[in-house]
Structures are given as structure tokens and as C-alpha cells.
């Protein structure tokens, strides 16, 4: 008897999974300026994506790509479209970066907030603004939604709901000195909501730009404290690095404690371009970051640095792909996780080195620090090599704090807690210390410190 009930439940859940995206779209999707010719291409893009998303099912842990990360809880949330919320300037002051005071775009619950944004510091010709607001860059339809892998179901959901986006366009040979801060703020409303941030970055031939993609909350207290209501951020960022362009991409995920965060970053790297990513995941009840880098020409350099620091019952999953397809590519990846309490971190890093990618130099390292006996790490660095003249390495380590190191520090006068904190700080520092925006380094060090204080 009980078996039948379980079977029925499973069937129900499975039907719910299959219908999940179609129902969600019906409930939350807004139309964009219908009938306006200017937006015809966008309407087409959205319709195609909506069809894809509606056919897709909410992944379960039986899907290989979601084996360790269970998003079933999304089924229980009655998500509504995010309400527009008026956020005063003071509320985002703590999130602002002095280096980007004149190069900042702020979106609140997915809606562009002009009164919080300022782009006066950008060189002539550089475009930074929202899709709906400004003049559209020529040829934008060749880039927006055109990255490989956009058919993945969460990415399709985002595109299906695409009404506005942060757009950064750097013309040929222009170097942007100030970092461009793309701040996506979630503000609690009366209902559980879904917000779908979208970024498009095009760095043309020989240009250089530094981006700070930043997810945070206001009016929910510190992200480490429970927010009023669960919410869901489903973000997509597309980056096109032109020939010999240099893109530095810092990504900070500090969603609220009740937040769900799924995101996809897709990067196309043309010949001789350099792309460096620093992805720091601290927030959200459950987060999944998919990062895919596609090499479209030879001699590219790719650096991916990741830091995940989670506590309580948090789950943080990073799936990355570096798809090389041309000779002389160089990639370096370091992914570090600090996991405490009953938290669970997942890392899957694929590097593809096919025959066309001779003379590739690829290295990948996953390092994990477990601070409690109930903490869990699943890590899978994965190299797939068919080229025969390459230099590739990968590795993974999982360790606890070294008791002898703690004693050494204590024997010099540090308290046990200070000794632990210094060691954790240095573990995190290897990633944070490399972030090329000073105030952000400070902000993140404080977050790490604040989190450690709460452990004592």
C-alpha cells in the first residue's frame, strides 16, 4: 500500500517537473512592446527560447549534470514576477565600489534603476546601459542570445523572459580604465519572486575592460541572516572577447540566505584574446553557476579562479567548461571551496582539448577545505584530451585545517580562533588577493572575516 502511495507521489513530482517551466512562463512572462518593429528580433528570440524552455523539465538528481544538486525545492515555491521596488541611494551605498562610482549600472529586481546608476567615467564610444533605455548598438542581434549552449533549460527560461539587459559595448582598441560595476540587487516583496538578470558584454578587437558582476540584496538584512521569503535569481551573462581583447570578469554572488541562484556565463574568445574570471560564491541557499568558455581562435589565454565559501545548509555548485578548439591556447583554473557545518559544495570542471587544439597548455586545480565533519565536497576535475602534443595537468585536494599549523600559530600567541581564521583567510586569500579591484578585495575579505566571526 505504502509503495503505491510513494509511486503515485513520484509520478506527480515527475509530472510537475515536466510542466515546471511551461507553468512558470505562463505565470511570470511579460511581453515586450508588442508590435514595435524595433523589437521584432527580440520577440523572435524570446519565442524560440520559450518553446525550448516549455519543453524542458526541471532537472532532478538523476540527470548527470545535476547529480549532486537537488533543485526540487523550486517546485514548492509559488514564484511570481518580481515587483518593482523603489530602492533609495543609501540602501546600495554599502554595495558600491569607489573605483566604479562613475561606471555603474544597477538593476533592482531585474528593473534598471537609472537613479542608482552612473556611467560618466567611460571613454567616448563605450556603451554601458540597459537594453530598453538607450540606442541599440549596431549588430546587437548578432550577439544577444547567440552564445553556444543557450538551449540549456535555465538559460532558455532567462531568454524567454528577456525584457531588459545590461549591455556593455567596448569599441575597437579602446581601453576602459575604470571597472564597470553591474549590480543586480534583489529586494524582498510580498511574494516569492523570480528575477532574471541578463548581461551582454562585447569587447571588440584590441579593447580591454574589467567587469564586476555583482548579485546582492537590500532590505533583507545581512545575506547571512534569513530573508523574509525565498526567491529565485536566474541569470545569464554573455561575453564576447574580440581578437586580442582583454576581459577581466569578477563575479560576486551574495544572494540572501533564502535565495536560489542559477546562472550561466558564456564566453567566446577570439584569437589572442585574454579572459580572466574571478567568481566568488558566498550567498544563496542553493546556487549553481555554469561557466562555459569557447575558444574561437588560436593563442587565447583563459584564467578561471573560483572561491566558494559556504556554511549552514548551503549548497553551492560550479560547473565549468573550457572548450578549446584551436592551437596554442593556454588555460589556468583554480577552484577553491571552504565548506563548514552541513554545507555542500560541488565542482565539475571540464577542459576539452580536441585534435585541433595542439600545443595547448592547460592546468586545473580544485582545492577544498572542510571545516566540519558534516560538510561535504564533490569535486570532479575532468580533462578530455585527444590532441597529442599538449601540456595538461589537473588535480584535486580535500583537506581539513592542519592541527600542527594551528598549534604553531598558538605557540606564537594567537588564540585558537585567530589561528584558524588566519589559515582560512589565507586559503581564501589566494583567490581574493588576485582580484584587481581594491575596494572589492576589501569588501570580500570583510565578508570572509564576518563569516568566520559567526563561527566562533
Amino acid at each position: 500500500m505504502s509503495v503505491e502511495v510513494v509511486g503515485k507521489d513520484l509520478k506527480l513530482v515527475s509530472a510537475d517537473r515536466e510542466a515546471y517551466f511551461a507553468r512558470l512562463l505562463q505565470r511570470v512572462n511579460q511581453r515586450v512592446s508588442q508590435g514595435d518593429e524595433k523589437w521584432e528580433w527580440l520577440q523572435e528570440l524570446r519565442s524560440r527560447a520559450a518553446a525550448l524552455a516549455s519543453e524542458g523539465a526541471l532537472p532532478s538528481t538523476r540527470d548527470e549534470e545535476w547529480r549532486f544538486t537537488d533543485v526540487s525545492e523550486l517546485l514548492r515555491l509559488n514564484l511570481q514576477a518580481a515587483e518593482p521596488v523603489d530602492v533609495p541611494v543609501e540602501s546600495v551605498a554599502a554595495l558600491s565600489l569607489p573605483e566604479a562610482a562613475q561606471s555603474r549600472l544597477v538593476f533592482v529586481n531585474g528593473v534598471f534603476a537609472p537613479h542608482l546608476s552612473e556611467v560618466a567615467a567611460l571613454p567616448a564610444g563605450v556603451l554601458a546601459g540597459n537594453l530598453l533605455g538607450g540606442e541599440l548598438p549596431v549588430g546587437i542581434e548578432e550577439y544577444l542570445g547567440k552564445q553556444s549552449g543557450g538551449e540549456e533549460v535555465f538559460a532558455a527560461l532567462n531568454t524567454a523572459g528577456l525584457t531588459d539587459a545590461a549591455v556593455v559595448w567596448v569599441p575597437k582598441n579602446v581601453a576602459v580604465a575604470a571597472p564597470i560595476h553591474l549590480l543586480f540587487v534583489g529586494a524582498a516583496g510580498a511574494e516569492s519572486f523570480i528575477v532574471q538578470p541578463r548581461c551582454l558584454v562585447v569587447a571588440e578587437h584590441g579593447s580591454s575592460v574589467t567587469l564586476v558582476e555583482h548579485y546582492a540584496t537590500v532590505g533583507m538584512g545581512c545575506p547571512d541572516k534569513p530573508a523574509a521569503r525565498p526567491y529565485f535569481t536566474n541569470a545569464v551573462t554573455e561575453i564576447w572577447a574580440g581578437e586580442n581583447a582583454e576581459v577581466t570578469h569578477i563575479r560576486v554572488q551574495r544572494e540572501g540566505a533564502e535565495g536560489f541562484h542559477v546562472s550561466r556565463g558564456a564566453v567566446a574568445q577570439a584569437r589572442n584574446s585574454r579572459y580572466s574570471c574571478y567568481a566568488v560564491s558566498l550567498g544563496a541557499k542553493l546556487s549553481r553557476h555554469n561557466l562555459e568558455v569557447f575558444q574561437t581562435g588560436e593563442g587565447t589565454e583563459t584564467t578561471l579562479n573560483g572561491l566558494t565559501m559556504i556554511v549552514g545548509e548551503q549548497v553551492a555548485d560550479t560547473h565549468s567548461v573550457i572548450a578549446l578548439n584551436h592551437p596554442h591556447g593556454r588555460s589556468r583554473q583554480l577552484h577553491k571551496c571552504i565548506v563548514d557545518d552541513r554545507a555542500h559544495s560541488v565542482f565539475n570542471g571540464k577542459v576539452f582539448v580536441p585534435k585541433a587544439a595542439q600545443l595547448t597548455d592547460a592546468a586545473q586545480l580544485s582545492r577544498n577545505l572542510l571545516l566540519s565533519s558534516k560538510a561535504r565536497v564533490d569535486t570532479k576535475p575532468q580533462l578530455e584530451i585527444t590532441a597529442d602534443n599538449v601540456k595538461c595537468s589537473h588535480g584535486a585536494t580535500v583537506s581539513q585545517l592542519d592541527a600542527e599549523e594551528v598549534f604553531y600559530l598558538q605557540s606564537r600567541g594567537l588564540s585558537a580562533a585567530d589561528a584558524r581564521n588566519l589559515l582560512i583567510d589565507s586559503f581564501a586569500g589566494e583567490v581574493i588577493g588576485q582580484i584587481p579591484v581594491y575596494s572589492l578585495r576589501k569588501m570580500l575579505s570583510r565578508c570572509v572575516g564576518c563569516r568566520m566571526d559567526s563561527w566562533e
Binding site: F407, Y408, Q410, S411, R412, L414, S415, S426
Partner: protein, 263 residues
């Protein structure tokens, strides 16, 4: 130097300690006064390093009996960091490497933990810089080592110099040097010993644990103790070290056996 009516820095009585249920120290007695340099020699496994770790408060060692009085207070009840702040310093036989923490930060944090304990204001980076430059002289250390991670990639000699640098900075009342000479070439040994000698004063005391008499040519002890099976079995002056070097530890064992037999 032996000081008339010097303060008793360390008084160890009938100390017993075990690790993983195995008794290593079996009734150790030792008294050290201000100004004195004591050497402990003894064969491998006699408990020398265990003694140093027990004094410093390593959590793996359990004291099962006896007492350790440091400047009038029982330190067995104190955590490792409290002992350090009270003035006990252990120069490690194998100093640990701590990647990601710069030597300068480590030294400053350690120094400030002592300042805080004394109720003094912590030194900021600039003032600390001046202080540490001065201390580098003691062990002739290249300032470049300050910006590297603690002991990471340091040679054996550099690690030991770094230990003495920490000692110079923290100015302990009791410095325990655990096989500080092992693995050092003669030049490094001279520099390390020279550093220790500069720091020795009538106010503090040194406990030098070593395998080899060689070190004691450079750091001249007032007393030499021989440890055997968890106890100090013989005490003498620096001449005892020479005799041990010439005749080996067997001789001490025989003497002790004869003494016990005579009783």
C-alpha cells in the same frame, strides 16, 4: 650565566606525560633560574622533544602527573597561546610552512597578540616595519624573506633563522630550542647560535635540546642534563657534553645502573 639568587623561571617536578596512551615522560625533574642556559641531551626516543612539546602545550600530549611551575604559576592549566603570551617560546625542530600567510603578517599578528596581552596598543604596519628591520640584524636575515609565505620554500637553515627571529621579536622569558642545530651547516649554525647568544640575558633562560655536542661549542650551557627513558638521569656542566660525545650514552646508562646497584 649562573646568577646569585636568580628568579626561578621553570620548576618541573615529577612530570609524567603520555601520547596515544603511551607514557613518554616518567617522572622528570628540572629547575631553571633566570640567566641560565640548560642543555638536554639524550638518545633518540628518550623523550626530549616530548618534553619541549609538553612545555609549549601541544594538545596531543596528556600530562598524567607532576607539575610545571613557570614563574610561580602552574602552566599545565594554560592553553598554548596563554603560555606563549606569558613568555614561553618553543623554537620548533620542524617549523611549519604556512602558504598564503606572509612572514611579515605572521610576525606582526604574533607580536601584537603579546602586546594586547600586556595591555599595550597594537603596533601598526609602519611602526612594526621599523621594529622588525632591527630584529632582522640578530639573525642576519634578508628582508626579502618577510614578504614570502611563512617558511614556504625556505631552506632548513632559513627556517631555523626564522624561528630565532620570532624569538628575538617576542622576547620570551624561557626559550626552548628543540634540535635547532639539526641539519644546519656550520655557517648557519654559527648565525643561529650567535642570534641565541645575543638574546640570552640575566633576565631570561634557555633550554637547549640537542643531539650533538657541536652546538654547545657555540651556545655554552651552564648545565648539561642527560635524558633517558623519560627522565633526567645525569646532570653536569659543559664538560659532560664532551664526555658524552667521546663515550656515548651507553656510558651514562652503565653509570646509572651501577649507582642504582650500589643503593
Amino acid at each position: 650565566m649562573i646568577v646569585e639568587n636568580g628568579e626561578v623561571i621553570l620548576s618541573v617536578r615529577d612530570l609524567r606525560a603520555e601520547v596515544d596512551g603511551v607514557e613518554i615522560l616518567k617522572g622528570l625533574n628540572l629547575e631553571i633560574k633566570a640567566g641560565e642556559i640548560h642543555a638536554i641531551m639524550g638518545p633518540n626516543g628518550s623523550g626530549k622533544s616530548t618534553f619541549s612539546k609538553v612545555l609549549a602545550g601541544h594538545p596531543d600530549y596528556t600530562v598524567t602527573g607532576g607539575e610545571v611551575i613557570f614563574r610561580g604559576g602552574n602552566i599545565l592549566e594554560m592553553a598554548a597561546e596563554e603560555r606563549a603570551r606569558a613568555g614561553v617560546f618553543l623554537a620548533f625542530q620542524y617549523p611549519l610552512e604556512i602558504p598564503g600567510v606572509t612572514n611579515l603578517d605572521f610576525l606582526r599578528v604574533a607580536y601584537n597578540s603579546h602586546r594586547k596581552h600586556k595591555g599595550l596598543e597594537e603596533l601598526d604596519a609602519l611602526d612594526f616595519d621599523d621594529l622588525i628591520q632591527e630584529k632582522l640584524e640578530v639573525v642576519k636575515m634578508n628582508p626579502a624573506f618577510l614578504s614570502r609565505s611563512v617558511n614556504e620554500g625556505f631552506s632548513g637553515g632559513e627556517k631555523k633563522r626564522n624561528e630565532i627571529l620570532q624569538m628575538a621579536l617576542l622576547e620570551p622569558k624561557l626559550a626552548i630550542l628543540d634540535e635547532t642545530d639539526s641539519g644546519l651547516d656550520i655557517d648557519a649554525l654559527r648565525i643561529v647560535a650567535n642570534g641565541v647568544n645575543q638574546l640570552a640575558s640575566a633576565e631570561n633562560a634557555m633550554l637547549v635540546i640537542t643531539h650533538y655536542q657541536r652546538l654547545l661549542n657555540y651556545i655554552v650551557p651552564d648545565y648539561v642534563h642527560v635524558m633517558e627513558a623519560g627522565r633526567i638521569v645525569t646532570t653536569g656542566t659543559k664538560e659532560l657534553a664532551l664526555e658524552l660525545e667521546a663515550r656515548g650514552y651507553e656510558w651514562v646508562r652503565e653509570e646509572e645502573a651501577a649507582e642504582v646497584g650500589a643503593r
